[in-house]
């Protein structure tokens, strides 16, 4: 059971959160002008790295905030978490 650091509430049990996939994948402003390939890349393609990854979680059972956090996909180690639209901390790698 992961202990996920909510930037507002501190570390909480995984059961309080929902996963939101990779962070920093912005909704395209000009979706109508994108090619099918470009649009499909936004909808379906994520980087899925082995190792450190910035990802989104929402603290559903707590403060209800979406936030970003570094997580190592190999050993579940968490790096710093941070609020949306704030400076992204360096990868712990």
């Amino acid at each position: 059971m992961l202990h996920i650091p909510c930037p507002y509430c501190g570390p909480r049990d995984e059961t309080e959160f929902h996963y939101g996939s990779e962070a920093h994948v912005a909704y395209p402003e000009n979706s109508a002008n994108l090619t099918d390939e470009e649009w499909a890349k936004f909808v379906f393609i994520r980087s899925n790295p082995k190792g450190w990854m910035a990802e989104r979680w929402v603290h559903s059972a707590g403060c209800r905030r979406w936030f970003n956090v570094w997580r190592n996909t190999i050993n579940h180690e968490f790096g710093p978490s941070y609020k949306p639209f704030t400076q992204q901390p360096k990868s712990p790698a």
Partner: protein
Amino acid sequence: MSTVTFTFDGKQYTGQKGESLASALLRNGVLHFTDSSYKDRPRGVMGLWVEEPNALVNIDSGAGEPMVMSTTIEIVEGVVARSSQGVGDLPDTRDNSRYDKVNRHVDVLVVGAGTSGLEAAKKFADQGKSVIVMDDKPTAGGHLVYLGQPVPPELLSVLDRENVTFLPRTTVQGLYDQGYSVATERRTDHLDVNVHTEMSRIRTWHIRADHTVLATGAFQRHLVFANNDRPGIMLSHAAATYVSNGANPFRAAVVVTVDNQGYRDAVRLSQAGVTVNAIVDIRNNPSGPSVEAAKASGIQIITGKTAIDTCEKEDGTVKCVSVGNPDGTEAACVDGDLIAVSGGWTPVVHLATFIGIKPTWDAKLAAFVVKHSDSLTSTAGMLAGDFGDDDEAAIFFGPKLSTEQALVAFVDYQRDATYRDFKRAIDAGMRSIEHVKRYTAIGTAHDQGKTSGTVTMGLIGQAIGKAPDEIGSLTFRPPYISVPFAALAGRDRGLLSDPERTTPIHSWHVASGAPMEDVGQWKRPWYFPMPGESMHAAVLRECAAVREGVGVMDASTLGKIDIQGKDAGQFLDLIYTNMFSTLKVGMSRYGLMCGIDGMVFDDGVTTRISENHWLMTTTTGGAAKVLDWLEEWLQTEWPHLEVYCTSVTEQISTVAIVGPKSRELMRRLAPSLDVSNEAFAFMENKHVDVAGVPARIARISFSGELAYEINVPAIYGLHIWESVMAKGADLNITPYGTETMHVLRAEKGFVIVGQETDGTQTPDDLDMNWIVSKKKDDFIGKRSFSRADTARDGRHQLVGILADDGSYVIPEGAYIVAGADEKTAPPVKHIGYITSSYDSAALGRSFALALVANGLARKGEKIAIPMADRVVTGVITDSVFVDKENTRRDG
């Protein structure tokens, strides 16, 4: 020490209260405990604790438990045990014990209350940290307890400190990421009265520790020689401990050793009155204080030799051991009814390997050890390689054996896996412990290789000329020892296994005898049968009542989200496929939400309460998901929008009165309200007192009939329901459940998200193009509608299906095959499937909704549905069956 009576295999014995069942049986002279699982060879107890590979029993007293190690059972008066030949035997009686769970956060968790664990506890307690010390044995002290030596008071007293909690009989079963561990505490089995109605039998501890100290100690391991499994052959430390405590069925012993531990145990045996005929040491030049002590007590020491084989007495117990060179030569028997084997120590590395720490091989100790220290985890004691100064073990696991000897030289006792089995794995080319394990089943029994793991790795090394750490590493998985499922479940059983969510009107539904349907975690009334009425008859009656008179339904479970802010309209335009910002205050509108992939995600009615205040409803199961979704867009994409969302699902209770007579009933409930069609139009909302309670009435219909939804604060939900029932009595008001609701909406072709959809349907696929705005620049999902796959020909589309036999209700999920005249025997190509299917009172026949490839263009085509016992034929129709012109909703 008091005496207790216990039963083993139907025979009564006495033992000392609190000693292990294994110890008590030895005290009574029982050596032959059981027979082996596969080869029926007589077996006795080998070990002292959870490393025991042989002596399993079923417990028939107390709570009852299958397959437990007799070495771990503390006997109390009346224990009834049966020997177990490796197969569990669940008791027939119900286990009425309680099981529970406790969550605890702590600064430091110390696993193991031996000397090193107590030292660690003292260190952290001195720093003012909160400390929990767990040990799976009944008392603290570790090896000192076995040796009968006092635990230094300055260490023992740490357990009494205010910031220290000691949990004996508590086994850490799993260690996970970030200092999370799970332990089971045996709380009642050792008590005189061991079935309690209040106290849990086993408590599962969920611990979050900032730091975890692993001081888990070590187990002794055996050696692989021929006939090394006879009763009377034991691990030397175990034998010496039993005997020293007076559980001594032995007269003469031979100690076979690779280290100085054998010498210490020989001296203990000797002191307890067992004649030690010889210490057989594989080493040529043993040295150290223990060796000197054994020499001083006059015990014969044979060096450079080891056990090759054993002989049995008539009763199958061991008679003597043949001692020879490691290559098997020059073997000669030495008598002993106890063969005490010291094959070296195996530190308990399990918990460390659970979190990915790799043990390292210490050649001097002939052991895998874990020397580890970081902010989360550290190791101490024998686990960390601290064996004391008097130990230097030979790296030796067994002599060279002939083919015949290999057949009876056991590597894993419980699995009856022999050196011959092991050799076949090696000869088949396997080198990794993981491969050998799976080929031979070594290490897969209840003990999970606690003794056989290192032995197997050593044997592989010996066989191919490598050190054990070149073969691989020991890897274990939780749980550390077997755990009853009941312990892990704790209170999460029966009613408490999953929450039952109920509405304020639930008690009325239950009292009326309505069976409940599970909708997510909600309990919703399914239908309201009259006495003796079948479900089919009840649903037809309820449907007819709604279409011809008036029905009432509890719609309180719908998800509700209060949305406020000046940009709420703009936000809803982005979330829904249709337009909301133009909606007039006091009006409601049905909306469809899609994901970014353009697939339908949820639906519901949203009402504009005032200029900047909206109330969204979601599907019953979708409320939490939709709120997460709204917050996601507001927080991570459009934070500039001034919008706040608040869940009000349980704040509002909704009672829907539905049917042509609902207008008359509404008039009675709210006499001040003008209920005429002109004054209160479809999709309009009115605020008015109903039965003395402030209410919002919405003219929303999910059945096509004239309907009013009465929304009140939930504390008044039951009151409103009862008022509706009272005022509608002479109108023959008919409460109806989810089944009737489903039939009525399906007759109108209204989809249910999750029934007509599975996450792969666009609004177009559902024949709902009318709800997709052509005016809006963008909304979530829009761009995906023009993707090649979403726009392609041949997608599954929502249609109606009428079976030719109107009395037949096609099962939901049934596959549809094209053309009634086409081949219907497998293999066939299906063109779609049934999503909803009911008998209809309004139609006087059955009908169905279905998703069919290109279905909208195929209306009128014949189809066939192959069932197990027949082929059903029918025709594709429009998805709306009742009131296509929408005339009924206005009454």
